[in-house]
Symmetry: C2
Amino acid sequence: MKFTKFFIQTQKDAPSDAVLPSHQYLLKGGFVSQEGAGLYNYLPLGKMVLDNIRNIVKEELDNAGAIEVQLSFVTPHSLWEESGRSETMDKEMLRFKDRKDNSFVLSPTNEEAMVNLVRQRVKSYKDLPVNLYQINTKFRDEARPRFGILRGREFLMKDGYSFHTSTEDMIREFNLMEYTYKKIFTRLGLEFRVVQADSGAIGGSGSKEFHVIANSGEDTLVICNSCDYGANIETIFEDESEVDALNELSYEELQNKKIEQKCSCGCKLSFKKGIEVGHIFQLGDRYSAPLKAEFLNKDQRKENMQMATFGIGVSRLIAAVIEQNHDDKGCIWTKTTTPFMCEVIVSNAKKEDELNAGLKVYEELKENNISTLIDDRVKERFGFKMKDFELLGFPYAIIIGKKLQENIVEVVCRRSGEKTDVAIDEVVAFIKDKLV
Amino acid sequence: MKFTKFFIQTQKDAPSDAVLPSHQYLLKGGFVSQEGAGLYNYLPLGKMVLDNIRNIVKEELDNAGAIEVQLSFVTPHSLWEESGRSETMDKEMLRFKDRKDNSFVLSPTNEEAMVNLVRQRVKSYKDLPVNLYQINTKFRDEARPRFGILRGREFLMKDGYSFHTSTEDMIREFNLMEYTYKKIFTRLGLEFRVVQADSGAIGGSGSKEFHVIANSGEDTLVICNSCDYGANIETIFEDESEVDALNELSYEELQNKKIEQKCSCGCKLSFKKGIEVGHIFQLGDRYSAPLKAEFLNKDQRKENMQMATFGIGVSRLIAAVIEQNHDDKGCIWTKTTTPFMCEVIVSNAKKEDELNAGLKVYEELKENNISTLIDDRVKERFGFKMKDFELLGFPYAIIIGKKLQENIVEVVCRRSGEKTDVAIDEVVAFIKDKLV
């Protein structure tokens, strides 16, 4: 893609309410723009990251045998009365009336609609198990939308729901999804922990959260430095006031806090902050009982389906990647989430030889299926282009500059900052080597 | 995909309000399910068709230089006051208040939001032209939602918006989009016409509609039988009562109606019914003037941007494909829209040799990148499986049945009904030949 044909406008300043790095950089880099309180538009670069994440989530879920659907975002309020959540869910669930004065809801989650779908279609134990998911818009009317797309009101969620003939089979799928989620977050290039959690408003017993480790996280975790153990502090400290006190501490204060207990692996535990990006629940018959989602068992008797539910915050993950991967200059995308793997920076695009050399490298990278942006802007100076590259955070830059006369270009690794002079004829092979 | 691992439940009957073939077959085949008035869920098969259409739309738009974004579905009401459409759009535009009593709108279209985005970011003639699009949920609170997903309330639309320094450049893009739309509808395998149209509520001058020719269409068209000429009757007959009278006629009555005029190519014209699936508008400054979307021209003077807008009814296209392609047994998908290219029907899956032969053919088709479903259901009889195949409408079936003893299978072409005996070792090559 050519910068001059694309739609990127970087900005010098972020709004004053943007305190988190992801909020600042995603706005300054033009990945997203704000439309209203807790409402965001995904601009071309942000849409590309969103699609990258979405595709990895879809691929791994499909591999695990889950099946994609897409439910109506607007749902009849009657469904929420049937499950009892019309009363238990507060104002976060946005209700409205249509022109005929019927009541509807902007889906904050979709247990009811999915149970409704399955109870109409699945009649026998032979049709089970089934795991249906969607990657679709959700709306929660948060009292205090903040932190940009990390806690917006409209967001993109992967919500999956599985239905089973027995608790054992539900637990089997729950474990399969834990395994699948680990694969997803690993492929996204994230450092994360799976932690035992409370089940909260969704209900049911047995639930695990997936947290991306980041200083700015809202949740306080205890993690092992050697193995992959992690826990929510609520599940470790029984004393509520102790939990509250820990939650009050900043990331820096937590760093200095010692934990007496050791991990079961024998190693040291420490406090970290985490951003919740996934949550899986064993629901049992929490929804299938009130909504009468039944099946005929082998003895031709009716039983309630056993159910589990699995969520991933797809749009939130964009922010989580940046919270974990940034420096004081801007974003540092992981290789699977980045909009472009490489940016060719033509130092002075007025010089025909520099522009042509840049275009040649750009075409060769594209032929090698390396997604590339070329900064072919004529008016902007090199320093400005470099600042944009650092803010936008693609993994590699190839700088076509003064050394072109010696057939040399400079490769910059955004993460390490390392700079390497490479012969222009070898630069595509050099980048390819980095990506193996 | 194996039938027994997938989520397909065909139904014998459609609801009584389903009068159109697409409405009946999409429900009976389990492509979609109804969630409420004008609200539909896309079940696995429907979601696959939706993705096929979406991918073709995206590919051709990207090739033409348009750039994808994704705007917030919920938009602040203030934007619609600024453009004046808060007053001119009727109850189709659904308004609601959030918990803080602020007013919002479920986007029925997104001119305002897109102009808002562009006016904040584009300052100079150097940043123009730009063509931004999204494929995103829309909501129109239709007084009488009907015909299933053909006229629902929540639907998926491709809406694109281009911005220009001059009317000439806007017309250039308008023509490019007409060309691109023709490519899209051709790739989807549809018979369609581009017709001159009135501009309606969107405003502006110069607009063209894209109609899929189908007996059940709501619009009455005049088309040439030889060239690609087509027109809306409103643009041909000046007398309003004549237009009204024509619109009253059924498809059969229209067939017998003669037209005196000849096409400019010299050939006969006739009446047809059409389903509107695309609409492109030259808007000029209809939105850029009230919303102050200005740019600095070469003389450093401010001018209003010239604007065009381009829509495709993405979810509606699913129904339009079926309205044009079906028979009295069910759907007949085109090769680019079908969820599966081929279905392997194991006549009696209790017989191990039939099932194994079927699985072998199935694996070989998959290795050849031919998307395939295998009907491996044990309990269902052959006649039932065949009826499902006809209802679901995949292009080809390979029947593994009695002739397997002679190493023969039967290939059925869904569209022509043609049946061919083929040696089992040659059947994959036979199917591949059909797809060239």
